[in-house]
């Protein structure tokens, strides 16, 4: 379920330069913000399966209720603007939501939890490919107040719940980048949306690389069991969107995972050359943070050889 093939010209190749340094690298978001890939239905089914199997892929503080409703309405409205067969009608606090593609039809009253079958965040989170995080803004800081995250990349939502933005990024090299990013997010006007790309390499096509699931993927990753680099090793691009929610000023953080096998990277010579260059020049601390000590050189060598 990689969500992308070599022929997918819309793949958001994440590297803009021949060298990579950790940076905020944000840019204004452009529509569509919410991705609908060829395997949309499979992705949504997988998201629900993971959530239902492990309820702690969803967290919400009691004080996140308003921001969660804010996020719900923003997401549904966004889907209605961007996607076919989807509509959101409003009459005062009363909404009617129709998602014909998924066969979902729901009337609800804003702020009234009893009018939805589940929490507003999981109701929305099951209908988008992106993981959904709500960062509440308090005391000039952002706090992880709520989220539905099933495709985390080596972190755990349940552990990170309640952390400040700075605490969340504690393990990242160059944390000062995130101090600036937080200041930027807190200055965002309501309704603003920004995009940034993050990337990594992995030796399978699992979108769920959460710590919660690490017993399932960790052992193979540690043994670096790779038989066919081109088809097994994947470039993992995270398309992240940051939205200042209009009513509460909370920041909605969306993370979409797009996987591309190295063979498909190799099919685009410019991408291949850039990834090789980035991997060859990666600073040591970034290399170890992204766990690319062995996988990085392995991928670079394979890409180099595939062009000989």
């Amino acid at each position: 379920m990689s969500g992308a093939t070599g022929k997918d010209s819309s793949y958001p190749f994440p590297l803009a330069h021949d060298t990579y340094r950790i940076s905020a690298n944000v840019e204004p978001a452009a529509a569509p913000i919410l991705h609908v890939g060829a395997d949309h239905a499979d992705v949504l089914a997988l998201r629900s399966r993971i959530l239902d199997g492990e309820p702690r892929r969803f967290v919400a503080a009691p004080h996140a209720a308003a921001a969660s409703w804010d996020a719900l309405v923003w997401l549904l409205d966004r889907m209605a603007r961007e996607q076919a067969g989807v509509s959101l009608e409003r009459d005062g606090h009363r909404y009617r939501w129709t998602n014909a593609r998924l066969g979902v039809e729901q009337e609800f009253v804003f702020g009234d939890a009893s009018t939805l079958p589940e929490h507003p965040l999981t109701f929305a989170g099951r209908q988008v490919e992106e993981d959904v995080v709500v960062l509440g803004a308090r005391g000039d800081r952002l706090w992880l107040d709520a989220g539905m995250v099933v495709f985390a990349s080596v972190w755990s939502l349940a552990f990170d719940h309640g952390m400040s933005f700075a605490e969340l990024h504690g393990p990242v090299p160059s944390p000062e980048v995130f101090v600036r990013a937080e200041r930027f997010l807190l200055r965002m006007p309501p309704g603003d949306a920004w995009r940034r790309l993050n990337w990594g390499l992995q030796l399978d096509d699992r979108p769920d690389l959460s710590l919660d699931a690490s017993p399932a993927w960790g052992p193979r990753r540690r043994r670096l069991e790779v038989h066919d680099v081109g088809s097994e090793v994947h470039l993992r691009t995270e398309v992240q969107h940051l939205v200042r929610l209009p009513m509460t000023g909370a920041v909605l953080f969306l993370i979409g995972v797009r996987l591309l096998p190295l063979a498909a990277v190799a099919a685009v010579p410019a991408w291949s050359a850039r990834l090789v260059s980035v991997l060859d020049t990666l600073p040591a601390e970034v290399r170890s943070y992204k766990d690319l000590g062995v996988l990085g050189p392995m991928a670079a060598d394979w890409l180099r050889r595939s062009h000989e």
Partner: protein, 221 residues
């Protein structure tokens, strides 16, 4: 944003992150002076909608009947009476309270003083900041490598001006945050408005920074 009601779509010009209700509060004290009542009216509607505990202290404020329909309102006849009112209200506020003031600077200062006297930490005290848009007068810039002299108009950014004459410059955020557009500053004194400390590296953020009044800049572009 002033008539914000839950469920409304809004588009505001400037962020007011420090003046949105703090959702973790157990009790909200809204202090309104004069027309400063307007943003607090939307706070009161918000709290009434969600069933939050709140109270309003008003001095010389209109719309009192609207407020009274939403929750408890105490009116002070003048500023001095307001000062008398603040001490007891702030001093006996339940655990997890926050206070929000919108009004003239004197009122904001009086509330801050009352909160300090009751040993509140600053993070529980909020005031509507009246930030004026920083002025952006015209100036000239010399592009050293392209050997051009460009006039940056008032209200135009340095980045816009460079674009206008067709000189390539990198950029991403256009908000002085990402650092992508930083360019060497070779001459002139800049009015730095970025958040990435460009000045310390002898560079300038083309997207937000300008020349200091009367200065002409020379940049490495």
């Amino acid at each position: 944003m002033h008539d914000l009601r839950p469920g409304d779509r809004v588009r505001a010009r400037s962020p007011r992150s420090s003046f949105t209700p703090v959702e973790t509060a157990a009790h909200h004290i809204l202090v309104a002076g004069g027309v400063g009542v307007t943003p607090l009216l939307s706070h009161a509607r918000w709290h009434a909608f969600w069933g939050h505990s709140f109270e309003v202290l008003a001095v010389g404020a209109p719309h009192l009947d609207v407020l009274r329909a939403l929750g408890p309102v105490t009116v002070a006849r003048d500023r001095r009476k307001m000062a008398d009112l603040l001490g007891p209200v702030v001093g006996t506020a339940p655990w997890k309270s926050h206070v929000y003031t919108c009004g003239p600077p004197g009122l904001i200062a009086a509330v801050a003083a009352a909160a300090r006297a009751a040993h509140w930490v600053g993070a529980r005290v909020h005031a509507e900041p009246f930030v004026a848009e920083p002025a952006g007068g015209p100036f000239e810039v010399v592009l050293r490598r392209s050997r051009r002299r460009v006039r940056v108009a008032a209200g135009e950014t340095l980045l816009d001006a460079v674009d206008r004459v067709g000189v390539a410059a990198p950029r991403l955020c256009r908000q002085g945050v990402c650092g992508e557009c930083l360019t060497g500053l070779v001459g002139g004194t800049a009015d730095h408005r970025d958040h990435v400390d460009a000045a310390e590296e002898g560079r300038i953020a083309l997207c937000v920074s300008r020349a200091a009044p009367g200065e002409t800049l020379e940049i490495d572009l």
